[in-house]
Amino acid sequence: MKLDSMYQEVILDHYKHPHGRGLRDGDAEVHHVNPTCGDEITLRVKYDGETIADVSYDGQGCSISQASASVLNELLVGKELDQARRIQEAFLELMQSKGQLEPDDTMEELLEDAVAFAGVSKYPARVKCALLSWMAWKDATAQALSEGKTA
């Protein structure tokens, strides 16, 4: 069934058992919404120099947006900013691929569980759900940096 390509086991797992959910102390906080469907996320980033000490979040949304935030937390926390940016860019590329991109080894290594979202990229209405937390993270990071908390 085609649906299974979107709702991969990994995604449903993250949805049902989200990582790092809840708001904790941070250097910057952003609130993003997806006006199409009303998904919302509040996200905070905490930096320790160039290292991502924490990404905490709260919000409401569908399985895809919730799972994506959970994967983000799992992937990015503990990473260096540079590496995190590479991951974010790879994820963006994957999501914008309209189901046309077969992740290669480098991408698989970068994205880990997040490659499971490849199937979502076939559903334009859901791509925004998957990207919501990632855009929020990018924005929060920019704010944290400009506020001089890091680097």
Binding site: M1, K2, L3, M6, Y7, L12, T36, C37, G38, D39, E40, Q60, G61, C62, S63, I64, Q66, Y123, R126, C129
Partner: protein, 422 residues
């Protein structure tokens, strides 16, 4: 299921009707026949409307009002003929009270802007108040928020009760001597609630306020008689009533349309223009700047003919039967909660619900895989979602071509959704 269906009376001959709608024959996801349950967002179009569009473009296409040649006269007669049809459809006292816009949103913005730029006694300014409700479509909220911000007028609203009705307990405090305009929907696009507008109109008349009724979800589904309604303005939109996209209507009382200032300026809406000043044509033309949506008006005329031939009472009766059946069957689904009236009384053929804590987005996706098209989200009525503390709903909405079998398909589909996320 079939047992429950047997009691249904008042249904239309949907087998015949569905033959008129080419899209309803479509299949999705490897051959699944589409079950289209999103008519509150936009309706499908019958062959008759598409034929009218083609006939217009292939034989009569010309700009209107200004030509002496044959096809320009034909195009003008078709365009103005569509105005006659719409006027008859809503029982307008005069065809000149029917303004063509691009959609209901433009119609509502038109009212807000007319009042913002009006002279006394209509002028909305910082000493005055605007009244709306928490149940409105964004298109009947945002124009008034903008007007309020730009004039300083205070925006007030009626709240909603737990069972999806307008809370009119404070009607005398909400609508006061300061109120210039009360604007509200006849039928909620998210909950299906049919509102007691007469009561509100009576109160508005007491204080001398104008009343604007958003009939976007009413005109497609029930007899709309603007004289019986006694409102001052009535807005609706073509694409929800088997007409084309790109066409809306504002009906307004003649003397108001005469007194109120224009909104968009341009060709067609003028009497004479010099560089120093201009004078305006009488209504409705005063409010129709530029080349109008000619083909779309003609298409709306054909839509109105189509609906009238079936009969708005018959369509309404059909939808009542389908809605009663749908409410009953949906309430059988475990964990399903209807947002809005949970009975079939005073409600239109639109039902919003939540399903346990499965997000509507996920509900809609899994239903789509089975060919079932429902809408998910806040349906441009986010204040309603806020009111009930939910992020979104799943909404199924029915029309003259909907069948009890489609209700069954939805209920089966929801069972599948529950299993999938179970």
């Amino acid at each position: 299921m079939t047992d429950a269906r047997q009691g249904l009376t008042g249904l239309l001959d949907t087998e015949a009707i569905r033959k008129d709608f080419p899209l309803l024959d479509r299949t999705v996801h490897d051959g699944k026949k589409i079950v289209y349950l999103d008519s509150a967002a936009t309706s499908q179009k019958p062959r008759q409307v598409l034929d009218a569009l083609n006939e217009y473009y292939e034989r009569h296409n010309a700009n209107v009002h200004r030509g002496v040649y044959t096809i320009a006269e034909e195009a003008t007669a078709l365009y103005e003929g569509a105005r006659d049809k719409v006027a008859a459809f809503i029982n307008a006292p005069s065809r000149n009270e029917v303004i063509f816009t691009k959609n209901a949103s433009e119609s509502l913005n038109l009212v807000a802007n007319m009042l913002g730029w009006a002279d006394e006694p209509y002028r909305v300014d910082s000493d005055t108040e605007i009244v709306t409700t928490e149940m409105e479509h964004h298109s009947n909220i945002v124009p008034w928020q903008l007007l309020s911000q730009r004039t300083g007028a205070k925006l007030k609203w009626f709240g909603i009760t737990d069972d999806g009705r307008l809370d009119l307990s404070d009607i005398d405090e909400v609508i006061t001597e300061k109120t210039k305009i009360v604007t509200l929907t006849l039928v909620s696009n998210i909950m299906g609630t049919v509102n007691p507008v007469e009561k509100i109109i009576r109160r508005a008349q007491q204080v001398g306020a104008l009343v604007c009724v958003d009939a976007s979800q009413a005109a497609p589904h029930m007899v709309l008689d603007v004289q019986a309604l006694q409102a001052d303005f009535v807005a609706f939109t073509g694409h929800k009533m088997v007409g084309p996209t790109g066409i809306g209507v504002l009906w307004g009382r003649q003397e108001l349309l005469e007194d109120l200032p224009p909104f968009l300026g341009g060709g067609e809406m003028i009497e004479t223009v010099s560089m120093h000043s201009s004078t305006y044509a009488p209504a409705p033309h005063k409010f129709e700047a530029g080349t109008p949506p000619i083909a779309q008006a003609v298409g709306l005329g054909a839509a109105v003919d189509y609906l009238s031939a079936i009969g708005m009472e018959n369509i309404h009766r059909h939808e009542e039967a389908i809605t009663a059946y749908a409410v009953k069957r949906l309430l059988e689904v475990p964990d399903l909660r209807i947002i809005g009236p949970a009975t079939a009384e005073d409600r239109g053929a639109t039902i919003s619900f939540t399903l346990g804590d499965i997000h509507p987005h996920d509900v809609g996706q899994v239903l789509d895989e089975q060919g079932i098209a429902v809408r998910v989200g806040h349906h441009c009525a986010r204040p309603v979602c806020l009111r009930y503390g939910i992020p979104a709903t799943t909404r199924a909405s029915f029309y003259l071509y909907s069948t009890p079998a489609e209700v069954d398909a939805l209920v089966d589909g929801l069972e599948h959704v529950r299993n999938f996320f179970g």
